[in-house]
Amino acid sequence: MSSETSQRTTERGRIRVSGFDVERVESRDPLSSWEPDLQSEAGRGRLEYAWQRFKRNRLALFGAATIVFMVLLAVFSRPISLPNGFPVLAGQTVQPFSLAPADPANQDVLTGYREPTLENLFSGTATGLYLFGADWAGRDILSRVMYGGRWSLSIGFIAVAMALLVGIPLGSIAGYYGGKVDEIIMRLVDLLYAFPFIVLAIAVIAVLGRGYWEMILALVVVGWLPYARIIRGEILSVKENEYVTAAKALGSRDRSIITRHILPNAMAPVIVQATLSIGTTVLVAAALGFIGLGLSPASAEWGVMLNVEQDAIARGRWWAGLFPGLAIFVFVMAINLVGDGVRDAFDPQGDQSDTDTGGLR
């Protein structure tokens, strides 16, 4: 054995191995067809992987399908005409379909509080008329629920989109620049968080009055806060990544660093939060409607419908409240399923099952 012949030593670097000739490997033809391939198929980004995972999540797909179905129902419930002042196609009908059996505003005192029965389906002339019964004014609830989706759903999507438009830039600026700017923005966030939401909403609506855009504004005033917080926290951690330093070292401008390197890598939790909060926004809008701060009592917004029929429900006319309530429930459930799916898609580690076998079968 070599140890017998070699002496112990205090000198470093005595052993030298030579003749391991790299050139030979590089210059020869591959011996086998095996190739040191990359770990996956070509050029797929992480978003694509997330989409792949989302597609495999059946519950989330079911939720997405439900949402699409409800949106389609809302859009095709009544024809849509553009207003006369519109720059193009003024006054023309762009969506001619009318799935709702009746005009949701069509009152008929004779049919007030008609019960929902299957017989209605066959007795009436129009298909499905009074399938869900009628409200106090004899308006077809099925039609109103379908048509009301236009208000409720659009409020959810638009309010969240606008809140993102406010929250993301403010949170990004706070997180990226830090210091005084950060201090001012985040203290504003704390301040608004400290107000009870209802008080703020009442204040906004008291000043501006009731209405669709007023309601959205009331929702956005507080809706942007969580996004600003989340994106700020994410940016604080993402900006520590060395690729941000690398971009600075290459001479990138701040704007390009934020939009190209930081935001895309900080967005995932915001997207998840935004998806989930579409549901809560619809709920809050309904709640505002229910306490009379929402749209006008004549509108078919689901919360407003519940508000108007409060007494009726107490008097046993359950259908007047059930169907709008059910619509809210189904939509919020569907949104939550999608939101969870989005979260799992972005964070595949979350769903590993842990069985305690220690690797044994």
């Binding site: 140890s3 052993i15 191995v17 391991f20 095996w34 842990d354 069985t355 220690g358």
Partner: protein, 363 residues
Amino acid sequence: MAMLEVEDLNVRFYTEDGVVKATNDLSYRVEAGERFGVVGESGAGKSVTSLALMRLIDEPGVIESGEIRFKGRNLLEMDEKEMRELRGNEIAMIFQDAETALNPSYTVGEQISEAIRYHLGLDEAAARERAIETLESVGIPSAAQRYSDYPHEFSGGMQQRVVIAIALSCDPDLIIADEPTTALDVTIEAQILELLEEIATEFDTAIQLITHDLGVVAEFCDRVMVMYAGHPVEMAPVEDVYYDPQHPYTVGLMSSIPRIGDDRDRLQTIPGRMPDLIEMPPGCNFHPRCPYAEESCTRVEPPLVDVETGEPADPINSDAQAAACLAHTGELSGELDYEVTVRGEDDPAVPGDAPSSAGVSDR
């Protein structure tokens, strides 16, 4: 019979991308009081080996076949309760990252005495006393005072000492140290290695050291197993591995490390990278990176053989140097023509006999 005998261990991970063959027919033994080194690059299957010993492999990993005999008992046949009693008591583990190995919300003393109370059935006061003793034995000054400190109040090196104290607390027979010094600065690393060495001698504890650092292995270990792509490619007493490597991968590793006092301009390194363990090259897994590879290497998967006789190696009962390369079975027509020279030695630092492998020569 050796204290620990691992025989034909196969661990597989069933992932979405395919089956990861983490270890393949792995056999080795660790004697009582021995310091056994497992060397390899990341992805070689070193850590999986140690987790398998503790039966801590999580989904989707599975110990497919093989035996792990510890003092003659097969760990793979024990139930969970027996295993729990073994872990920490007879086999203990030291991790790379001391900071995450300690629970930040308990004092270090509580964490040590917990194990002592559980395994040795001591009461609180006795456990405390023993915990303080253990802390002292790993070189923590004012141990009684530091007993009630939280992990974040310790520096990185001190945290690793605490982790070692936890491992030592029940006087185990085998400590598995998985890269215990990788996260530490070199002066702290020297302290920790010194400590481990003292422990091994003082308590006669066997240590299975897993590392990628060839310097640490040379300094610490008696016997070494070199792993590549889930296979043991060479197993030998530590001096043979450094002075007379017999597998081309070991040779490549030895020639890639920069050594102080070595005036080479370029390092001769292994080209390419380790295959992922899902889709491995046919035949010898190392052939795409091996300068000595021939056509036959792509057909035959080389068995681990005794380098002198060419007979299948018996890593459980024999100490002889073994390598998994066709050069030692006679199926390679060329030679492994590398040289190991030792500066300042007139005599060849060379094995004299290893006829088939051969290219080893003196200057």
